[in-house]
Subunit: 382 residues, 4 copies
């Protein structure tokens, strides 16, 4: 049945060109199919994938927890590759004219329209109704628009960035989706030089927030997460304190934060857990007049209870829900990596590489927390 | 028993000078006692009360719902009066040397210490641990430090403001506590010229927020409250739309806000209700990327449930709990009133005047929503 | 020679369709030519001009004082008209599908690319290198892209806004370019509710700043300009004080501002004069720690001297140069006008209407300050 | 004559207790006098000086270039010492009860009144008219209120900070006045993570700005100064690029900044030179839409010319004059030093130690740029 759905992409044996992992529908095993090489529109480019990643969002995608996904779909929204072909002059964001062989990445977010009220008046492009995301809200019917594929079609207008020489593909994919997501969260937090920052969560977003909080001015960074090997990595990445949620109770965690901040609580708390229960705990960890950035609630995992008097009004607390990223976060993330690639070894966030034939295993390993970051390498042979 | 507790203030018949309404303990009927004239410290002043108000906080005070109240207490935190006496040169905030007869008000908040981490480093004086408030956290043991009294003792360092000629005492007390509270909320909201602002609540804070939202740049102000006579006043004060919570369901209210904003929701929502249930509704009324100021949850009325994914994270919503005021809000409120006293008739917010012997009735009338704003006039005779 | 340059637009007698005023080169008399109706690209629209304006920029354009102007050119960057024709579905910014007869305006700024570092990373689209402006940096070779013409070609992607019913064309053109320019300046000023704002200049930008400063929260608006009839209009538009530069010396002006602000100076000063000499005076009018927005220096009129110690560093002064506008300023300006069209009579800013055959006179009248605002009406007959 | 002026402090031989360096009047050689031990008011403390510094301001003080200096005066506004004595309980800003032997510093700024319009409404305490500064605007007639003395009198209410164990006196005084001054400048700059920051000046403020710009998020820090040994230190403190003003012309410097920033200019430029000529150059080094913080113009060294069209308005440039510091800058500076004392060796900024008898030499060495930072050690023997 899959074949029928995207028969226009799947060709006879002779012309088969591109192997891609396709998720037909939620909970269906992902299968590798061969798709024909696309014909490039003017302004488009074709990328040979070097690496794609398995993000927490891909687990949600597999389970069908996200709204607006046009299955069947090729997952993979953060990717790095080599320019294989362009139709006409295609430039990157810095105006650099791209040629075959250039190692590039691109912003997964596309079609934020620059023509609507949200883009133009509210200047809140992450809430643009026309917004589309590679590997998430672009389906197979839209083209080869996901990274779990030997090649990726870059539509005209996609924002491309040539990687600086200091940013290697393995470090870039180690940063992955978590780096710009954390960048946006840190920007929202408006960290002041000298702040104490608590990071809730030690997954890819949390670990990148540990890095960026330091770079943005925090002088005490406390990570609250687990399991222990992730906390060890957090400490290696510069966290001053790591609190293990597997061994320390929520009440003790809040108490510990108070102890570490002269009894006041943290200036800034950043949530990167995906667990609703973290919210009330995070509010309690922030100091009166502090800032709480909620950046990890990407799917609906249920409701929580809060007390609006004690948790919010009397605390004089500011809470900032933070959705998606725009190009500034992505661009600056890469520049930060180019500067600090020696100090922070992003490539160590990667746990294992999987071929296209192993993507189901990769999703399961991520979901079961067996590994921290799974990278998809379409060139890895069976 | 009351007499024993504050015998140092209550004197023999001959020397009795000042009649004051004293709340001995929560839920105890407030009684009028005569207190001896205080001796002024250097830098102190004595005020003859013209008007004090009954604020929603006084209802909480009566019921014992506030933490840190040192009963017995003279309620009344927002006051206007005439300088009766000073010990030495006492100046107002503008440097004006005060003389007997000057009509003044003063900031109820005192002893924000300007010496602690919250005052000096966080610059969040409303969370200063040393903060004291006339009529709320100063008790009778501290002196005649509440406005439901013929006279009020102004301690050295209390921030006094001579009323501009355009601000009459009845308009000032009509603004009352609600005006600077709304001022702080509006400042937190960072209203942009051209915004739609929803005000939840049509009590004194809500009505002042209706006024100030317009003055701060809103071009559509929608008030959600009741009963109908308060909404009528809101409309007279410039609200474009008034939605009656007695006749319109929460779902319909949210739908109405969407209808009035091109389907998007309001740029800014300001909560001034005191009802926890308003919070989830207010979050739903705000547009994606909007701002929600929570300024009405001054006592603990229980918990609420929210969905952190749909209500907060995906909405990219900013929420700002807002506690107390500082002098800037109070000072600028009075300047705004001096400018706009003809356009907005603050005196009409006052429903009735009560003598000291009628304060129990006044509290009950406010609590039962029989009236909008009760003013205490210590000179009103029985 | 003109004919040779734009012969592709100028056709034989039979097919002549559109009369347009063309400035062949700086200081050359503007002449009316007949141009053939353009063929619309998909997504383009054709507008029948109702009104265009003569802005100060047009005087500079005539004198050749602006960089990057591709003469010959049809001037006229702020325009209102009726949709005559569209090629395919063309929507306005609110998503409204446009039809012939709709009365619309459009943002003169086009091709801010949403693809470069300034647009995407710095989010400073007014400094985008690809930025083009109708009637200024689009020349005749680019098409009928100026408003001093019976019709205007709206390229695909031009941001169009259907005028709200409350905004009449004569009020819209009275606001003209000055309204969104003042909107941007006011936004940069971050006026706080209760501020004193000084406006330097009583031309179209200054008068609109007088209006918007009040709406953004100023409670004292002082205009410094001339001649007296402009100041009278400023007073009618709500300025509290008007200081005439023809009769009051610079020293006296600064002294007057100090007198009106308790000796401190204004919280905010907005420059809208075009005269370099105004800068040092404006810095002196601002209070210590205040904000000075420089929005009127649109051409190079020479240098000034300032003292960086006394005028800037010791004053703790913030200065914000402000260039151009983006759609948010234009969109919100129109919404503000829809709300306040009764309170502020923008149509009274218009002094006179000129036909296409009278544009040279219009420029001269504006330059000589004989009139405040000249409107071009292509339908006005000779 | 000196003796007559401050005879009330200078006592007979037997009771002489405190040796202090006194500047009788501008350009007069500073002489060491013996002053009697002061009697402590309640809440006051007496400090045994460990180190004071010679700041650029002290050179201005010597030359009489500062307004409001009440000569004769004991210079020395940034100091570290040991508590010798307190009258009653004296606490530091964190609420720590001080005892003899505690190593502390204190904010030189005192009497920002927390009672005036600037402190309370504008929240601009560095412009408070009551502001007094130890060693600058407090003279000998006010007491032993400067650090070039064996002991320093800490008036009641002076903001004291116990040094964290990680902050040694020699590192603290290496940071000196330049560290909190740079902190304020960096805060004004609102550095975004990923910015390029240019620092004009390689004196104590400039070098601290080099450090803090990195900590606040800059990924490229360029220092423009001299002579070469200071630039070498700047490079050791983390500057990516150092441009020597002794060998590179202003035009070349601006060109170099453009080259290092993709042709655009720096996101942020911070001026810390004291030279008016730096201002126009700094404006040219900033990118369109960038921020320029002017923090080094502490005395009147004359006027400059700028072009308000090209340098300011068309650039859409924000300029922030920055005066003085408040406690938040001082407090957070020390916390930053406690965190990063190993990464940045502030003690290496100190060039030489001088006894009280050598202060004239110290001033001359600083003025002639023979040394970078002179420290006064009152315990250094002749």
């Amino acid at each position: 049945m899959v074949k029928l759905l995207f028969s226009k992409y799947i060709q006879g044996v002779v012309a088969l060109m591109i192997r891609a992992a396709i998720l037909e529908k939620p909970l269906s095993p992902i299968q590798v199919h061969s798709l024909s090489d696309p014909i490039l529109e003017p302004g488009a480019a074709l990328l040979e994938t070097i690496f794609s990643e398995v993000c927490g969002t891909d687990v949600h995608l597999y389970h069908g927890r996200l709204a607006g996904v046009p299955y069947p779909i090729i997952p993979g929204h953060i990717n790095v590759g080599r320019i294989a072909q362009t139709n006409g002059n295609v430039k990157d964001v810095d105006g650099y004219l791209l040629s075959p062989g250039d190692v590039v990445t691109f912003l997964d977010v596309h079609e934020t329209c620059h023509n609507c009220w949200f883009c133009l008046v509210a200047k809140a492009s992450t809430r643009c109704p026309s917004r589309k995301v590679y590997g998430i809200t672009y389906g197979l019917q839209d083209g080869i628009l996901g990274g779990w594929s030997e090649k990726i079609y870059l539509k005209p207008g996609v924002k491309i960035m040539k990687l600086p020489p200091a940013v290697k593909p393995d470090a870039f994919i180690g940063g992955g989706c978590g780096l710009p997501t954390a960048f946006h969260a840190i920007e929202q937090a408006q960290v002041r030089l000298g702040d104490t920052v608590v990071i809730q969560g030690s997954g890819p977003v949390g670990l990148n927030a540990v890095i960026l909080a330091q770079l943005a001015g925090a002088i005490q960074v406390i990570v609250v997460g687990g399991p222990s090997h992730r906390l060890e990595l957090a400490r290696n990445l510069g966290a001053d304190i790591a609190i293990n949620i597997d061994t320390v109770t929520p009440t003790e965690r809040i108490f510990a934060i108070k102890e570490l901040t002269g009894g006041r609580g943290a200036d800034v708390v950043i949530e990167a857990t995906g667990s609703p229960a973290a919210i009330k705990e995070g509010m309690a960890m922030a100091r009166d007049g502090g800032t709480y950035v909620v950046a990890g609630q990407y799917t609906d995992n249920g409701e929580i209870t809060i007390n609006p008097h004690t948790d919010l009004n009397k605390k004089h607390l500011t809470i900032k829900g933070t959705w998606g990223i725009d190009l500034s976060h992505f661009y600056r993330s890469i520049q930060v990596m180019a500067k600090y690639h020696n100090r922070f070894t992003w490539e160590k966030i990667v746990s294992a590489h999987y071929g296209l034939h192993e993507v189901n295993q990769a999703i399961d390993d991520v979901e079961q927390h067996r590994i921290l970051k799974a990278v998809i390498d379409p060139n890895k042979k069976a």
